[in-house]
């Protein structure tokens, strides 16, 4: 058993942390949230040059042959200053789906340019009715002799407003299937949607978008299993970000308690507030500890083993992580409820992470319905 990052992983974590602190303080996010894109394509390119966008991908496609742990390190550290570049949307959702479902030609055409920072990707999987059921797909893929015609609507496509390629799930005759759709293809129409945490997503309508056979990722009907696996990566990614958010909120709150004076003393000397801060610390450590299990298990092929720890981690984000966010705001008092203070920006990001890739009830139900749940009886 070993809970330490190896040297390369430590180096990566440190480089990303330094970047977040020095090159991308929260003011940068503040400036960019009013921008049409919401992030800086040049910074994205820089991340590509630094190799960050390729950490979970094999060397054959231009990646670094790491595992999900490396990905989690990048996400956790970028989250500490709310770096707005679409790492989760493009690398984890779009990129890892392509890596898993695509063939060599598709990797070369779409994945490698993303890894190099030239392009970004998005995964369009959610629909009005689907909530967290990624196999609930009404968007259709109708064969038309040369390929397919895609029609339907996807909602909350993270980075959908900007991605060069959209990976879209659709019902083909053989079942749920994934397709690569250029964002500028005829028949793609989108509305930009602002999100609670100051980022952007897209609502996208596909009206008879014509695609060739080569736009299909894998066999017909293979999409649902891929999406199911990707949602586990995404949940683990949200947890990794959540660790960065919770750790930062805790530190900001402890600093504030040690500085703010009322009744002639530092408010951090009040036992009621001290005990609250300790419970925040406990929940943060629980989140950090179970996130380690989630990031290690994310690459595990045994579904029962993988899902157990990932659901437990997402559940801890939904309970402990959210509670840390709530209490951080409460202990900051009135200033915490202003847009001017950063604590509220982290608060909103934690809620966004909570709402994505399965909420509390989703993961409780999934954990409880696993066959191993009742088998553990002696």
């Amino acid at each position: 058993m070993d809970f330490e990052l190896d040297q390369d992983q430590q180096m990566l974590a440190k480089t990303v942390a330094d970047f977040a602190r020095n090159e991308s303080p929260v003011e940068r996010f503040r400036k960019l949230r009013d921008d049409d894109i919401g992030y800086d394509p040049e910074a994205w390119q820089q991340m590509g040059e630094l190799g960050w966008l390729g950490v979970p991908f094999p060397e054959s496609v231009g990646g670094f042959g790491g595992g999900f742990i490396e990905c989690a390190m990048v996400l956790e550290n970028l989250a500490t200053t709310l770096v707005p570049e679409p790492y989760l949307a493009s690398v984890v959702l779009g990129g890892m789906t392509l890596a898993r479902a695509g063939d060599a030609a598709q990797h070369e055409a779409y994945l490698t340019p993303m890894i190099e920072g030239e392009t970004t990707l998005a995964l369009a999987y959610s629909e009005v009715q689907s909530r967290y059921d990624v196999s609930s797909v009404d968007t259709s893929a109708t064969p038309d002799g040369n390929g397919y015609e895609i029609s339907g609507e996807k909602i909350w496509v993270l980075n959908g407003h900007r991605a060069d390629q959209l990976i879209v799930s659709a019902q083909a005759p053989g079942g749920v299937t994934l397709f690569v759709v250029p964002r500028d293809a005829d028949g793609v129409d989108m509305t930009i949607a602002k999100t609670i945490d100051g980022q952007k997503a897209a609502f996208i309508r596909f009206e008879g978008v014509a695609l060739g056979e080569d736009a299909r990722l894998g066999e017909e009907g293979s999409g649902a299993a891929v999406l199911d696996r990707i949602m586990d990566y995404a949940a683990a990614a949200a947890v990794a970000e959540g660790v960065g958010i919770a750790t930062t909120m805790l530190q900001m709150t402890v600093d504030y308690l040690g500085m703010r004076e009322q009744f002639g003393v530092k408010i951090g000397s009040f036992q009621g507030l001290q005990h609250r801060a300790v419970d925040m610390y406990a929940e943060t450590e629980l989140l950090r500890s179970i996130s380690i299990a989630a990031m290690v298990r994310a690459d595990e092929d045994d579904g029962s083993v993988r899902r157990g720890d990932i659901s437990a981690a997402k559940y801890q984000l939904a309970t402990g992580g959210i509670w840390v966010a709530q209490q951080s705001l409460q202990l900051h008092g009135g200033i915490g409820v202003t847009d001017e203070h950063d604590i509220g920006l982290y608060f909103k990001r934690m809620y966004a992470l909570n709402a994505l890739f399965g909420d509390q009830e989703h993961h409780v139900a999934r954990f409880a319905s696993d066959p191993s749940f009742a088998e553990a009886l002696v």
Binding site: I69, V278, A368, V378
Partner: protein, 392 residues
């Protein structure tokens, strides 16, 4: 990062498992499968069996009778003991005063006391709290008056758990009234057979005879029974607290209650099917099981630190806080699953044996958030030592 044990460690696990299967007497195995409430006599019997095998104190240095296992093997050993439902051993000698003597005792003390702790010839109990000194332990008033080569001890110690089965008690006593309260305390070993000692057992809320009051009336204690030096008692107490914290993570008991409550849920029905198949009840259990997983990962991290010879990081300080709350929530859920049968109180053959164990244990573990430094005191300590919040 690696969350798995090595092949050698897994082989060791099999060896331990097979041995426990073989060595545990049939009546104990029966109790482990059912109610799981062991008597102090059961614990003593199991202690002697482990002693004969040489496995009674894996956490002691090999020179003093430990096994020489690394932290991972010790962890696996404990896990296997828990999974088998083996009787818990008395912690006061093996896990408290023993390790303290190994670190701070004189050679004569080590020679005199350690072998008999190992062999179960002598059992120990703890004399810290007093009627007027609970969380404010340093205010304790039991006195040890200097009488040349010995002390004369007077006062009352309370929550001296299992004193009625013990041969010795380790006490904190006041040896200097004139200094700051922490600076006038001495750690003293007292023979409970000494004239002037009286032990009065007290029932716990779970109706187990765990608690005691222990009275000292002009008890003569030789000075050679001081550990760590006169007026060094507070330092000793703090050193001992470090040992206690990981003991109170409640990993084993939590796993145990989780299994029991699932077993009960498999026997009870709701809407015509076993509760364990009902999504609402499964979800309730799942929530606590997921919390247990997160807690287990915190303790694994502490273990991995120990394995590398490092002092466990600050995360280990929350083990008591989280673990004791969790065991209370688990026992409460077990009571809830039992429904009306949670009324049962030491009946025989009325409910399932496993159900009979829940109520008393539920009541007893209300103490978990109080003993070993109440959770409120733990929070004070973490606020100051780890978060470094300002003092009032």
């Amino acid at each position: 990062m690696d969350l798995t044990f090595t092949e050698e460690e897994e082989a060791f696990r099999q060896e331990v498992r097979a041995w426990i299967q073989d060595a545990m007497p049939e009546d104990m195995r029966e109790t482990a499968r059912g109610a799981g409430g062991f008597t102090p006599e059961d614990s003593a019997t199991w202690h002697k069996i482990l002693y004969d095998k040489g496995w009674v104190a894996p956490h002691w240095p090999a020179d003093f009778g430990g096994t020489g296992w690394d932290a991972a093997r010790r962890f696996i050993f404990n896990e296997e003991m828990e999974v088998a439902g083996a009787p818990p051993l008395s912690v006061f000698g093996l896990s408290m005063v023993g390790p303290l003597l190994i670190s701070f005792g004189t050679d004569a003390q080590k020679k005199r006391f350690l072998p008999k702790i190992l062999s179960a010839e002598e059992f120990w109990c703890q004399g810290y709290s007093e009627p007027g000194s609970g969380s404010d332990l340093a205010s304790l008033r039991a006195t040890a008056e200097d009488a040349g080569d010995h002390f004369i001890v007077n006062g009352q110690k309370t929550w001296t758990s299992y004193a009625q089965y013990a041969d010795w008690i380790f006490c904190l006593v006041r040896t200097d009234q004139s200094v700051k309260k922490q600076a006038g305390i001495t750690f003293l070993l007292i023979d409970l057979k000494s004239p002037g000692v009286e032990v009065k057992p007290m029932m716990t809320l779970g109706h187990t005879p765990a608690f005691c009051d222990t009275f000292f009336d002009n008890v003569k204690v030789p000075k050679k029974n001081v550990v760590g030096g006169i007026n060094q008692g507070w330092t000793m107490a703090k050193a001992l607290l470090g040992h206690e914290r990981t003991l109170l993570a409640m990993i084993g008991p939590s796993r145990n209650v989780l299994q029991k409550l699932k077993r009960i849920a498999a026997h009870k029905t709701v809407n015509g099917r076993p509760m364990l198949e009902d999504p609402v009840w499964r979800a309730k259990i799942a929530r606590l099981e997921m919390r247990f997983r997160a807690h287990l990962m915190v303790s694994y991290r502490a273990l991995a630190d120990q394995q590398k010879g490092k002092t466990p990081g600050p995360e280990s300080s929350i083990l008591k806080l989280v673990g004791t709350k969790l065991i209370q929530e688990l026992t409460e859920l077990a009571m809830e699953v039992m429904g009306e049968s949670s009324l049962t109180w030491y009946n025989d053959g009325i409910c399932l044996p496993v159900e009979e164990s829940i109520g008393p244990y539920f009541c007893y573990e209300r103490a978990a958030t109080i003993y070993g430094g109440s959770n409120e005191i733990q929070r004070n300590v973490i606020a100051k030592m780890i978060l470094q919040l300002p003092s009032s």
